[in-house]
């Protein structure tokens, strides 16, 4: 009996040691795992334009957050289809179906798996060639390297010699240096920089750069939460918890502290002041979409009958959006017999006609 207990104890300790060893190797010492063993676990199709469903087999939480995001709707959104003339507008393609997102480089549109819009592969799978290198090819050589080539005299690039296809070694890129058996990973600091998002959100990036704010796109729109990167049963548990960015790409949540609205009577008018206090870009902001804030001032008599309704539209495409830490003032003339005023601000995102209340003020006149 005693022998069995000792054996059980040794087995339990050995199992614990193995688990601890695997945990250590996965999180801190992957270089000690023999390469043939790593290759056995590799799933090469993950680097070959895999669908998000495939990624979700391990990265369940990230997938679920992304599925709810506007990024996942980029190609199938009804508003997008309508506004892009059934997706035929060329200017929209690069960012609604990017082939490969690299920091500071506007992507090319892709031809495969378009329904998934902006999803895992375009943002995370690419080679180690410098940004700007097209997928599957190195940049064309300079004229000096192409001896007696007619195009170097000013001809067209199409007749440049075909170059060796290679955009570097493909890997799953992300902000962490970690080990993942199914696919090679590569740490890339760009994932923590606004420049990465600015590949598509170029105007917003420019606005943000102008503010000098230290908050990045990721810190507000992908706030991190302590979690495991993978949820696959058992194997997922071997990954240590770490801050994981919210792949729901938060948007449009304008808090009380973010946008101040004040109203006063001045010079025979109601003066309404709006101040973007905390958001380090225009509010609303968009490169090509058309999100809007609607500011209304409704004047009523003592019986509550509407006498006048004023409106201002605050939108990036109208060049009236609210800059960071600046106050915009709107004046609405008073009318005789007006006793009360209701001032309210509503937000309409680019992808919907539905509006939500942002602020509301009642005033006795």
């Amino acid at each position: 009996m005693k022998r069995i207990r000792i054996l059980l104890l040794i087995s339990a300790l050995s199992a614990l040691l193995v688990v601890a060893g695997v945990y250590f190797a996965v999180n801190y010492g992957s270089r000690w795992i023999p390469e043939p063993l790593v290759q056995l676990a590799r799933e090469p199709d993950l680097l070959e334009n895999a669908e998000s469903k495939k990624c979700s087999e391990c990265h369940k939480l990230i997938f679920e957050a992304w599925k709810k995001s506007r990024h996942s709707r980029a190609w199938v959104s009804e508003t997008y289809i309508k506004n892009s003339e059934d997706r035929s507008k060329e200017k929209c393609l690069a960012c609604h179906i990017p082939e490969m997102v690299r920091a500071g480089v506007k992507p090319d549109p892709r031809l495969w798996n378009r329904d998934e819009g902006i999803y895992c592969v375009p943002c995370h799978v690419f080679g180690d060639a410098p940004p700007g290198t097209p997928p599957g090819a190195t940049p064309p050589p300079a004229c000096a390297e192409v001896e007696n080539s007619p195009p170097c005299k000013g001809g067209r690039g199409d007749s440049l010699p075909v170059v060796t296809p290679a955009s570097g070694t493909l890997a799953m890129n992300g902000p962490y240096d970690l080990f993942s058996p199914p696919h090679p990973t590569r740490q890339n600091p760009d994932y923590r920089k606004s420049k990465f998002c600015g590949s598509c959100h170029q105007k917003t990036l420019k606005e943000w750069e102008g503010t000098g704010s230290e908050k990045t796109c990721q810190s507000c729109h992908m706030p991190p939460a302590e979690a495991r990167l993978t949820q696959k049963f058992i194997l997922g548990l071997f990954h240590a918890k770490k801050p994981v960015g919210d792949h729901g790409f938060r948007h449009g949540e304008i808090g009380d502290a973010d946008l101040a609205m004040e109203a006063r009577i001045a010079g025979g008018a109601i003066a309404v002041a709006l101040t973007n206090q905390t958001i380090p870009h225009l509010v609303p902001t968009a490169d090509n979409g058309d999100p809007r804030l609607f500011l209304y001032a409704v004047l009523r008599d003592a019986a509550g009958v509407e006498l006048e309704k004023y409106k201002e539209i605050i939108a990036p495409q109208l060049e009236t959006a609210l800059p960071y830490r600046k106050t915009a003032e709107y004046k609405f003339p008073l009318v005789p017999s007006a006793k009360r005023a209701e001032i309210f601000l509503q937000y309409q995102p680019a992808w919907s006609k539905e509006r939500s209340d942002v602020r509301r003020i009642q005033m006795d006149l």
């Binding site: 507008k89 060329e90 082939e99 031809l111 001809g155 199409d158 007749s159 090509n288 058309d290």
Partner: protein, 288 residues
């Protein structure tokens, strides 16, 4: 003297190479482009493959003459051979247009380049250049209208005054009506009415900025059509209408500025293509 003769001949040949793109047709019919072109343009293709192919043909055809002028016969022959290849590729890309292509003339042209005789090369360039010109005459406008100009009719715009969503054509009628509300009342000396109408007209006019962004990615285009000059014209009209005795000379000058900056510049650029599209859309409707 011999050098001058060569230079003049080269210039003439280059001119010949360019000439075919110009139209001499008396009657112009803008037929809709063939369906197979769809696959050579976004969104079906990720690039404008047809434009690239045209550049390829044109680059090699022009390359022959550039190299010929430099007596660089080796490269001239390479360009001639690549011209024949790319000409053939283009014919295969749009089967509906196969009759525009004359492969025998293209082949003869490449053969003549090997003779290194400028006069013979120029003579052989004529027939093949004409095939380019014929296709351009018939199809150039249609292709640009279809693939380079989004349809204005499909633009929806929310009226900033009553918040109804309207098709672009309807919106332009509304804008035109709002404009007349200002000018007709001003002409009649009914300044209060003109002032009230100006508020709505200004909102609707300025909303056009959002229309620019439906196709254009840069903001400069907004400034070109609905920019500072238009804003100043509105300020000037408002100032006149707020004054006890509006000055008609000043007022109409501002109206003229708006008409030139916004209406004329935009119509001059966009209207012709939109008219062709409208005719096609009407035909399409009639077919249904």
């Amino acid at each position: 003297m011999k050098g001058h003769y060569k230079l003049a001949l080269t210039a003439l040949l280059i001119l010949l190479a360019v000439l075919p793109v110009q139209s001499f047709a008396k009657d112009m019919v803008a037929k809709e482009p063939p369906k197979s072109l769809d696959k050579l343009y976004p969104p079906v293709n990720k690039e404008q493959k047809w434009v690239q192919q045209m550049h390829k043909i044109s680059g090699h055809f022009g390359g022959v003459f550039v190299d010929m002028g430099e007596q660089d016969w080796e490269n001239a022959e390479k360009h001639a051979a690549r011209f024949v290849e790319s000409y053939k590729e283009a014919a295969d890309m749009v089967p509906e247009w196969k009759d525009y292509f004359d492969h025998e003339s293209a082949r003869k042209f490449a053969e003549e380049v090997k003779t290194r005789d400028a006069a013979r090369i120029g003579k052989a360039a004529g027939p093949v250049g004409k095939t380019c010109g014929k296709c351009h005459d018939d199809q150039y406008l249609s292709v640009w209208t279809r693939y380079h100009w989004p349809s204005a009719d499909k633009i929806a715009i929310t009226d900033p005054v009553d918040e109804k969503e309207l098709k672009y054509g309807k919106y332009m009628s509304l804008l035109s009506g709002a404009f007349k509300g200002v000018t007709v009342n001003f002409g009649e000396g009914q300044y209060d009415r003109a002032k009230k109408a100006l508020g709505g007209f200004k909102k609707r006019f300025m909303e056009l900025k959002s229309v620019c962004s439906k196709c254009h990615t840069g903001d400069a285009v907004k400034q070109f059509y609905v920019g500072e000059a238009s804003a100043q014209a509105f300020d000037g009209m408002e100032a006149e209408l707020n004054s006890p005795k509006p000055n008609p000379g000043n007022f109409w000058k501002h109206v003229g500025t708006l008409g030139y900056e916004g209406c004329k510049k935009c119509h001059l650029t966009h209207r012709a293509y939109a008219i062709v599209q409208e005719i096609w859309e009407e035909k399409e409707e009639a077919r249904k």
